[in-house]
C-alpha cells in the first residue's frame, strides 16, 4: 500500500481533503497515511480515522491513519521548558539553550505547532516516532507532504525524508519517495505573530538546501510561490464542515492533484538532474467540478439513508428483495446474525434494525454513545438538492460476506457494537458507490 506522510498543519489539511475524496469514491485505491505534527490532530482526520478503524476490523480495505504528535511532552509547554526541563519561573537567568535560540523562540508555546520557526524542529524529539509506521512497503510509493514555509513542515520535511531513506537502506527496500511541498500559498495572519518575511525566509532556506537535503527524492511538486494565487483566509482546521476550494487553481486543490498524481503515477522515471525531478505539469486527475458532483451525490445518498429510515423500511417490507435487492439486505442480515450470536438468542435482538438505523444516524451526525461529532462534519455543506430514489440502494455494489466466514468475536461485545460496525460499512459503501 502506498503511503502519505503528512507534516504539520498544511499536511493535515491536504490529507483532510484527500481522505474526503477517497470517501466519496473519487480516489479509488486505499493508502496509509501518517500524520506527524507538533500540534493536535485536526478533528476531521480524527473522525475519519475512527470511522476507518471500525471498517478495517470488518475486513474492508480502507486507508489507515496513524497520527504521531512529536515533541508534545505534556510537561513542556515551551521550547525553553523542553530543553531545560525546568519551569520558566523557577529557571536560572542563564541556560545553555539561549546560545542557540533567542528569547522569543524559546518562549514559543509548542503545544500548538512551531509557528513558522523551523529551527524549533531541532528540539523536537523523534524518539517517540514509531519507525515501523513510516517504513514503506517494498515497491511502493511514499509521498511526504507539508509546507516549506511553516515551522513544522519546514523543519521536519528534510529529517523525515532522510529518516525514510535510512529505513529503506536498512531494510533493503526499494520504494519511490516523492514530495508535495507548499511554498507561499496563503496570506499570513499578523494576529498570530507570523509575518510574510519569516515565511519567505523559511521557503528560501528549504529550497536552498533542497538539492542536498532532498537528494533522495524521486520527484516532487511545489505548490504556491510568489506568483501563485494565495488563500486570503486559511480555513479554521478545527471547524466543522470546512468548505472545499472553489477553483482548480486554489493551492489546496493543486496540492491534492499533485498528491494524487505522485501517489498513483507508476511510469515517471527518476531523473538524475535534481531540478528536473520537479513535476511542473500536473495532470488533472481529480477534476474539481466532477469531484463536487460526486460529493453532492454521495452526501445525498447518505442523508437519504438516514432521513428516509431505509433500514426500518426494509425490516417492515414484504417485497424485500424486489424493492431493496439482495445486496444491502444480505449485509444487514450478516450483522444481525452476529448481534444474535453475541446477545445469546434472537429474541434479544429483535430491535436490531432500529439499533442499526440509530447507529447510522450517530455515525453521520454524532451524538449518542459516540464521542465524535459525526462524519457529516467532515464534509462541506452542500446546498444543491437532487432526488435519491429507493432503487439507488438496490443498485449499489454492496460487499458480500461469506456465510461460512469466521468472525472475530472479540470485536463484538454487544448487539450495539454489531449495529455500529454495520452502520459504518453501510455508510462507507453508500458514500463511495452512491454515484
Amino acid at each position: 500500500m502506498n503511503k502519505i506522510v503528512c507534516l504539520g498543519g498544511t499536511g493535515q489539511m491536504l490529507l483532510h481533503y484527500y481522505l474526503q475524496l477517497y470517501l466519496i469514491g473519487a480516489v479509488e485505491t486505499p493508502f496509509e497515511a501518517v500524520v506527524i505534527d507538533t500540534d493536535e490532530i485536526i478533528p476531521s482526520i480524527g473522525e475519519m480515522s475512527a470511522f476507518f478503524d471500525r471498517l478495517s476490523s470488518n475486513g474492508t480495505q480502507v486507508p489507515s491513519i496513524r497520527t504521531i504528535q512529536v515533541g508534545a511532552d505534556g510537561a513542556a509547554a515551551s521550547a525553553y521548558e523542553l530543553l531545560t526541563a525546568i519551569h520558566r519561573e523557577q529557571a536560572p537567568p542563564l541556560v545553555p539553550a539561549q546560545a542557540f535560540f533567542d528569547t522569543d523562540t524559546l518562549e514559543q508555546d509548542l503545544t500548538n505547532g512551531l509557528f513558522a520557526r523551523p529551527a524549533l524542529s531541532a528540539v523536537v524529539s523523534f524518539d517517540e516516532l514509531d519507525v515501523s509506521v513510516i517504513t514503506p512497503e517494498p515497491a511502493s510509493t511514499v509521498v511526504v507532504a507539508g509546507s516549506i514555509i511553516g515551522g513544522t513542515g519546514g523543519g521536519l520535511i528534510e529529517p523525515v525524508i532522510n529518516l525514510i531513506h535510512r529505513l529503506l537502506e536498512a531494510n533493503r527496500i526499494t520504494a519511490a519517495v516523492r514530495a508535495v511541498l507548499f511554498g507561499e500559498y496563503f496570506q499570513p495572519d499578523h494576529g498570530r505573530g507570523i509575518d510574510l518575511r519569516r515565511l519567505q525566509s523559511n521557503q528560501l532556506f528549504v529550497l536552498r538546501t533542497a538539492k542536498e537535503a532532498l537528494q533522495e527524492l524521486h520527484s516532487f511538486a511545489i505548490i504556491g510561490g510568489p506568483q501563485s494565487p494565495k488563500i486570503a483566509n486559511l480555513p479554521d482546521k478545527n471547524a466543522p464542515n470546512i468548505v472545499w476550494p472553489d477553483d482548480e487553481a486554489a493551492p489546496f486543490w493543486q496540492g491534492v492533484q499533485a498528491l494524487h498524481h505522485l501517489l498513483t503515477d507508476q511510469i515517471r522515471p527518476r531523473n538524475t538532474d535534481f531540478r528536473r525531478r520537479e513535476v511542473t505539469a500536473i495532470p488533472n486527475g481529480l477534476n474539481l467540478k466532477h469531484c463536487q458532483q460526486r460529493l453532492s451525490n454521495a452526501l445525498h445518498v447518505e442523508e437519504t439513508l438516514i432521513n428516509r429510515e431505509v433500514v426500518s423500511r426494509m425490516a417492515a417490507e414484504p417485497w424485500l428483495r424486489y424493492i431493496w435487492g439482495s445486496g444491502v439486505t444480505d449485509l444487514v442480515c450478516h450483522y444481525w446474525r452476529i448481534a444474535a450470536k453475541v446477545a445469546g438468542e434472537w429474541d434479544r435482538v429483535t430491535d436490531f434494525p432500529a439499533l442499526l438505523q440509530n447507529a447510522l444516524e450517530t455515525t453521520w451526525r454524532g451524538g449518542g454513545s459516540t464521542k465524535g461529532r459525526g462524519l457529516s462534519t467532515v464534509f462541506p455543506t452542500v446546498a444543491a438538492r437532487h432526488t435519491v430514489r429507493p432503487r439507488t440502494f438496490r443498485r449499489l455494489q454492496w460487499p458480500v460476506h461469506d456465510h461460512g466466514a469466521q468472525w472475530d468475536r472479540s470485536l463484538f461485545d454487544s448487539a450495539s457494537t454489531a449495529a455500529a460496525r454495520c452502520a459504518a460499512e453501510v455508510s462507507f459503501h453508500a458514500l463511495r458507490k452512491g454515484n
Binding site: 417492515a316 417490507e317 414484504p318 424493492i323 444487514v332 442480515c333 444474535a340 429507493p390 456465510h403
Partner: protein, 182 residues
Amino acid sequence: MQTYRGRIAIGVFVVVACWSVAAQEGPRKTECRQWDEAYLTLFETFIAIAFASSTALALSTGLLGRRYWWAASPARRTCISTVGTFGTVAFSLEAWPRLIGFGSVWFSGIGPQYFDCQERAFNATGLFDGVIGANVPALAQWPAITAILLASALAGGTLAFVAGRLIVKFSGLAAKAKAGAL
C-alpha cells in the same frame, strides 16, 4: 299579423303548462323502487370494489417501491391505497350523481328523476335488505353509505397490512437473517 303572433304565444303557453303538469307528477312508485334497487345493487358492488381494491392496491403498490418513497413503506402505501380507494368509490357512487346526474355510465339503469324519489314513499328496501334505513331511499342515506364504504376500504387495507405482516414474518428481513448461517 297580431292574430298570428297571438296564436303562437297561446301555443307556447299550452306546451309549457302541459310540461309543467307532467313534471309535477314526478316518477311513479314502481320506477322509484326499480331505481332504488339498482342503486342498492351498485352500492353493494362498490362495497366489494372498495374492499378488493384497497387490498389489492395496498399490496401491489409495493411494485412502485423501487421508484417512489411512499410506495417503499408498507404502512404509508396501505394508508394511501385505502384513502385513495375510499375517495374513488365515494366519488363514483355519491358525488357523481349529484354533480353529473344519473342516466349514464354505471348509472345508466337509473333515471335522472331518481332524485325526486327521495321525497316520495315507495316502500324502499333500505341498506342490507332493510337492516339500515328501511323505507328510506338509498340515495338519501348518504352518511351511512359513506361510512360503510370507508369501513370497507379500511377493512381491505387492514387485510393487506396483516397479509404483509405475515409475509414479513415468514420471508422478511428477520426471517432471512434467522434462516442464514453465520
